[in-house]
């Protein structure tokens, strides 16, 4: 599982409230990613990071911000949650080598009422 944990695993919140999701990795990987998974859309990239304090937008970044102050932690923040942000959120890390691939965390199910 490449040592990836996500917290919380489940969250229910109300429209307009701020929400922060945390991704933690234990293996010092440089690249980290946040995706959301929705029916009919597969996995879509929200934001990614290529190092401490180095982040960039993905294809569905509106309404989301990220921060990475330490190699091991990548935070995703919904400044003011909306019902359209109800989704399952996955964090991933990138491993390069013989087989370049991404490894995913267990996911956070977020419901915005």
């Amino acid at each position: 599982d490449a040592g990836i944990t996500q917290s919380p695993r489940h969250k229910v919140t109300e429209t307009g409230t701020p929400v922060t999701l945390r991704c933690h990795q234990t293996e010092n990987h440089r690249y980290m990613y946040w995706y959301r998974q929705d029916p009919g859309h597969g996995l879509r990239l929200i934001h990614y990071s290529y190092g401490v304090k180095d982040t960039d937008k993905g294809e569905v970044s509106d309404g989301y911000s990220v921060s990475r102050s330490k190699t091991e932690d990548f935070l995703l923040t919904l400044e003011s949650a909306t019902s359209s942000q109800t989704s399952v959120y996955f964090c991933a890390i990138s491993v390069t080598g013989v087989k370049d691939t991404q490894y995913f965390g267990p996911g956070t199910r977020l419901t915005v009422l």
Binding site: G40, G42, L45, Y48, F90, S94, D100, Q102, P106
Partner: protein
């Protein structure tokens, strides 16, 4: 614009038979392709990959075929087992000359293997 497409949302196969999952892509700058498997309430797990310089890669019961001229890849599972029932995502990575490690995912195909 969907650059990676999985046109079959679901597939049902009998145990022991072959499962064939398909994926089409539009961007000729993709140089690396991956398949992921996802069970409910879990994160996707890496299954198998193929570089654009190859046309086939095999790992046990799983084989991925790449047809670059048709911009098409497929995943074959032989023989299919009930434990293979999951959602399968194909993903593609742009050439590293683009200085990015981002993956583009398809929408997924739900495979059900029945006894």
């Amino acid at each position: 614009d969907q650059q990676v497409k999985q046109n079959s949302p679901s597939l049902s196969v009998q145990e022991g038979r072959i499962s064939i999952l398909n994926c089409d892509y539009t961007n000729s700058m993709f140089d690396y392709f991956l398949w992921y498997k996802k069970y409910p309430a879990e994160g996707p797990t890496f299954l198998i990959s193929i570089s654009s310089i190859k046309d086939k890669n095999e790992d046990g019961r799983f084989t991925v075929f790449l047809n670059k001229s048709a911009k098409h890849l497929s995943l074959h599972i032989v023989p299919s087992q009930p434990g293979d029932s999951a959602v399968y995502f194909c993903a593609a990575r742009p050439s590293k000359s683009y200085n990015t490690d981002k993956l583009i995912f398809g929408t997924g195909t739900r495979l059900q293997v029945f006894p």
